[in-house]
């Protein structure tokens, strides 16, 4: 806490400050509102379609479905890739570990858009096959998030007590078995909140699909606003849809974290290497 329980004078000062702050914020809101009103952005026509056209919501629903499909494929494939890369990086064999480190670091440092372009632009020219925008997006998401998830899982495995590994090796499990059936299940449980937070990043990143023509929520919104000529209203609605989903996921992460803390009686969640914020 940066301030004490307040006495009468401090309370009065806080009240005055709060009122001044509120007035300033209200003025700011007023300036924005006036500007929008002057430009006719509160005209009913710009909003009517949201109420009167059920088709608009059908279209947005289709877009949202595609967004969620890409996120789901991306999540599954990225988790598998992440586990493989994490095991590779934890391997004691140099020829496995060094490439795994290189792959993880390279894909974490490359813009996701570039990876998506790589699949979308390079496959027709190099391999002669034209892949669907959905798959270019999913493969890009897989590589980038796989690298991030690998680091999350590795941090989780390294946070486990050494006794787990020692006991597993002592009962005669191989290193692979130790990783797969003893360490991984515990690491995933510990890192579940971080993994859910990464899902928020993944879901937001599916909107990059609109650049390569994948009909996800943002692209559908773009088509609709060209027709309705209401970009502000349309994009605010789309932003609200994303915010609602992501706030729910954020809540879920906090809930899982709290439950773990309650069960194990301490803060067990470990922060991975500061992950990137797509």
């Amino acid at each position: 806490m940066l301030y004490d329980v307040q006495g009468p004078r401090a309370r009065r000062r806080t009240l005055v400050g709060s009122i001044v702050g509120s007035v300033l914020l209200a003025l700011l809101a007023l300036v924005v509102a006036k500007r929008l009103a002057d430009q006719g952005q509160f005209d009913g026509d710009l909003y009517r379609a949201f109420v009167e056209e059920p088709q608009l919501w059908t279209r947005l629903g289709e877009g949202l479905r595609n967004t969620l499909t890409a996120a789901a494929y991306g999540l599954v494939l990225a988790t598998v890739t992440g586990i493989v890369l994490a095991f590779g990086r934890l391997s004691t064999v140099g020829v496995v570990r060094i490439p795994a480190v290189a792959v993880i670091e390279f894909f974490r440092a490359t813009p996701l858009l570039l990876l998506i372009f790589a699949f979308f632009l390079a496959t027709p020219i190099v391999l002669g096959i034209r892949i669907q925008p959905l798959w270019a997006l999913v493969l890009g998401l897989t590589l980038y998030n796989g690298a991030v998830i690998a680091e999350i899982i590795r941090a989780g495995i390294l946070s486990l007590p050494r006794g787990q590994t020692e006991a597993a090796l002592a009962v005669g499990l191989t290193r692979g078995q130790t990783l797969g059936s003893v360490l991984l299940p515990q690491a995933v449980r510990v890192m579940l909140p971080s993994l859910i937070s990464q899902l928020v990043v993944l879901l937001k990143d599916t909107s990059l699909g609109f650049i390569i023509g994948f009909e996800e929520l943002l692209r559908v919104g773009g088509q609709l606003r060209q027709f309705l000529n209401n970009p502000i209203q349309m994009y605010v609605v789309i932003a609200l849809i994303y915010i609602a989903i992501n706030l729910l996921l954020g809540r879920l992460a906090t809930y899982v974290e709290g439950r773990q803390r309650a069960r194990l009686g301490q803060a067990v969640t470990v922060q991975p290497q500061p992950a990137d914020l797509g």
């Binding site: 806080t14 400050g17 002057d38 440092a109 570039l114 390079a122 915010i243 706030l247 990137d276």
Partner: protein, 215 residues
């Protein structure tokens, strides 16, 4: 290979644009984020509330949607800017939320004795925050801030879809002109980003070391 060498000046120009965009947005986001973090830890309820609203809404919106709102929405509100300025605005607003969260966690990580001591000396809240807490908080959050700014560098590639001729956009048009060199161009630009990201993380870890305090 030739396509990369022949067009090296174009690519470098693109990366210069990327760097300018990133540096300006980072400066803006640092100021905005620090201000919002200060609002969120202040005793003034309306400011705390406004800060939380901004962070929670913008952070959960995809950057592409922020871009779309700026580029297509603002002209409708009578605000005509260049594509570069729109991109700068979108990146600053988006990155500001992550800076705010990082700085806020830094403020919370400063030992409570510090603010207690400052209050005992009779410092007001702005003095406590500005002179005692924030200087220590920044020191603690250099690693997370570094990853925020590296993410910003990578995110600036989205500006290519909104009319800014930065590195990724230059790459796109070069691929159109030289389809056979697609792999070389992709590799060269990816390498450019990796080098910039590495340079940034080296810079920040040096900064961290030079600001470190033995406790």
């Amino acid at each position: 290979m030739e396509a990369v060498v022949d067009n090296l000046d174009l690519l470098l120009e693109g990366f210069l644009r990327t760097l300018t965009l990133t540096a300006l947005a980072a400066t803006g986001a640092l100021c905005l984020g620090t201000l919002v973090a200060a609002m969120r830890v202040s005793p003034l309820l309306p400011l705390r509330w406004a800060g939380t609203c901004y962070v929670e809404s913008v952070r959960n919106t995809p950057l592409t949607v922020v871009f779309a709102l700026a580029v297509f929405g603002l002209p409708k509100a009578g605000l005509g800017l260049t594509f570069f300025q729109f991109a700068l605005l979108a990146l600053t607003l988006y990155t500001g939320t992550f800076v705010a969260e990082a700085v806020r966690s830094g403020v919370n990580s400063v030992a409570p004795g510090q603010s207690e001591a400052a209050r005992t000396l009779g410092m007001s809240f702005p003095q406590t925050l500005g002179l005692v807490i924030l200087p220590q908080a920044f020191r603690n959050v250099i690693p997370p801030l570094a990853s925020v700014f590296i993410a910003l560098l990578k995110n600036s590639s989205i500006a290519s879809a909104f009319g800014v001729a930065e590195a990724t956009s230059r790459m796109g048009s070069l691929i159109e002109d030289n389809p056979s060199a697609v792999l070389w161009l992709l590799a060269a630009v990816a390498l450019g980003y990796v080098v910039l990201a590495l340079a940034a993380s080296l810079l920040f870890s040096r900064l961290e070391r030079s600001l470190a305090v033995a406790r």
